[in-house]
């Protein structure tokens, strides 16, 4: 995919952007597909993610290879009550903002036995913004492409081959929380 340099002038902070964006309209994410369907996300599915329900991660602890700083998680729709898994169509966007730069990762419940050998039914994404601030998918799939490092701090290479592997790290939450690591998205308390 061709790359263009991103603009870096007059950058609003994540906190300011979120605070103001939340007052702009009452828009909600589109309804996710029914449970049995496969959901293949496209770039437009991430548009306006800052309007979704936001969870702030206050825990200062940073897991290896994840950048410190302001961390927010956005969820397009909560799972139903008593859900043991996130439904197909769930989109989780995690935005890390620090002095080193920003990172935006996402995981999408795709279904269809996708990623059978890893985070079953989940697809991984890395997002950025174009020159005008629109969301762009940098990469997606079962794992980061060669030369990419999912979850690494900007400028820091993984210390082990598994260091940048999404499936490996998220496996710790596979049994208890459907591969979702963020404690603010605990299925037991999140379902409504």
């Amino acid at each position: 995919m061709p790359r263009r340099p991103a603009s870096s002038s007059s950058l609003p902070s994540l906190a300011l952007a979120l605070a103001l964006a939340g007052t702009a309209c009452d828009g909600e994410a589109d309804d996710p597909p029914a449970e049995h369907q496969t959901f293949i996300a496209t770039q437009s599915d991430f548009e306006g993610f800052a309007q979704w329900e936001r969870f702030s991660i206050d825990d200062p602890a940073v897991v290896p290879n994840h950048v410190a700083g302001i961390r927010s998680v956005f969820l397009n729709q909560r799972p139903a009550a008593d859900a043991l898994e996130f439904p197909v169509g769930t989109i989780i966007v995690k935005w890390n903002d620090s002095d080193l730069g920003s990172q935006i990762h996402a995981m999408v419940k795709r279904g269809g036995d996708y990623n059978l050998d890893g985070a079953h039914n989940w697809e991984w994404f890395d997002l950025t913004f174009d020159d005008e601030g629109a969301v762009v998918i940098r990469w997606r799939g079962l794992a980061p492409p060669d030369g990419e490092c999912y979850g690494c701090a900007p400028g820091v290479e993984p210390t082990t081959p598994e260091g940048g592997d999404c499936n490996g790290c998220h496996a710790a939450a596979a049994e208890d929380n459907d591969w979702v690591q963020s404690t603010v998205l605990d299925l037991r308390t999140l379902a409504q």
Binding site: P2, R4, L20, A134
Partner: protein, 347 residues
């Protein structure tokens, strides 16, 4: 390489606008939606053709018998399978750019090259539906007697290399038909079925074409080491013609929208002009194979003599057309057109 992402510029207004945007517009009033629907129809048609071709290839496989099959004793059947392989290849290459990113695992199982598979692990059975699979695994068998020397030399250097071969007995012939070919049929069916409900957005469709055009030079450069994509059938130039054909068809879906914008006619003409330049260069080359790479070729500093060869001319033309820093290149024109249509593409 890890790319540091700057905090978003003028992020707030855009997020707000996008979040409040309605997605239920009428295509007649929404040129973006009309373009996306036209692309969906084109992609669906090519995937139908792909499914038809691979099913025909499987059906053309000879009945398994004790001595298997090969291009001499079973010439008619092999010719039919090769013809269906060509058909499948062209259909997929027309739309690969727009859809492969949505199906990374199916794109791998159907279109990965031999070296991509065996660098992970050896393939103990060329004919089963595991390990090395897909359109190039079948190509490698169908043209087992016609491997170009540079391709054999490249592959012999792979740690898990196994020579290409025709099925030598009934078990291998049956595995080819009922496992390897059947796996490809199943995979392309799944790709078509899973794509059917997806509403392709402009960014996915247009970005895919951008990526496909950007990869044209890479496809030519891989020939220098015998690694070109359709290396056994000597079909890589035909693949590239199909890439361009599909790219032109998909871009044509965006043209009414683009031309309705201020400056859109100039932007559209720049893109169609660039595609025409590449088309003319491809048309000037005979056959389906890339021209031979000069023995003294250097990508870093090619000699004038080497640049004057068909391969050198093709390489130089594509180098210029995918140069994002040159505003007159096709790729720069496509990015400019994306900007005009406000289609977000990767920075």
């Amino acid at each position: 390489m890890i790319k540091r992402i700057p905090s978003p510029t003028i992020l707030l207004p855009l997020l707000t606008v996008l979040a409040c945007d309605s997605s239920g517009s009428d295509p007649a009033d929404d040129p973006e939606k009309a373009a996306a629907l036209e692309v969906e129809a084109y992609v669906a048609g090519e995937l139908d053709n792909l499914v038809t071709a691979v099913e025909a290839l499987q059906a053309a496989a000879p009945e398994p018998d004790a001595d298997g099959w090969n291009a001499t004793d079973d010439a008619d059947a092999v010719a039919r399978m090769r013809q269906h392989w060509h058909e499948a290849r062209v259909s997929y290459e027309r739309v690969e750019g727009a859809i492969a990113v949505l199906f990374p695992e199916l794109d791998a199982s159907t279109d990965e090259r031999y070296d991509g598979f065996v660098e992970v692990e050896a393939d103990s059975d060329l004919f089963d539906g595991e390990g090395v699979t897909g359109i190039h695994a079948i190509e490698r068998i169908l043209w087992a007697d016609a491997q170009p020397p540079e391709v054999v030399a490249f592959e012999m250097g792979l740690s898990n290399y196994a020579p290409a071969a025709y099925p030598a007995d009934a078990a291998q012939a049956q595995a080819f038909r009922d496992e390897l070919a059947a796996r490809l049929v199943a995979d392309v069916h799944r790709m078509r079925d899973e794509l059917e409900p997806v509403a392709l957005d402009a960014a996915t469709a247009y970005g895919g074409v951008l990526g496909s055009i950007a990869e044209q030079l890479e496809k030519v450069e891989l020939a220098q080491t015998g690694e070109q994509e359709s290396r056994y059938a000597q079909h890589t130039l035909a693949d590239m013609r199909a890439n361009l054909e599909g790219g032109a068809a998909i871009f044509a879906a965006f043209e009414p929208w683009l031309r309705s914008l201020d400056g859109g006619n100039e932007a559209a003409d720049a893109v169609t002009g660039g595609m025409a330049r590449i088309q003319a260069a491809y048309d000037a080359l005979p056959g389906d194979a890339l021209p031979p790479v000069p023995e003294t070729w250097s990508s870093v500093m090619p000699s004038d003599d080497d640049l004057a060869t068909p391969y050198g001319s093709l390489h130089a033309m594509l180098t210029a057309e995918v140069d994002l820093d040159d505003p007159s290149s096709l790729l720069a024109a496509m990015v400019a057109a994306a900007d005009l249509m406000d289609i977000p593409v990767a920075p």
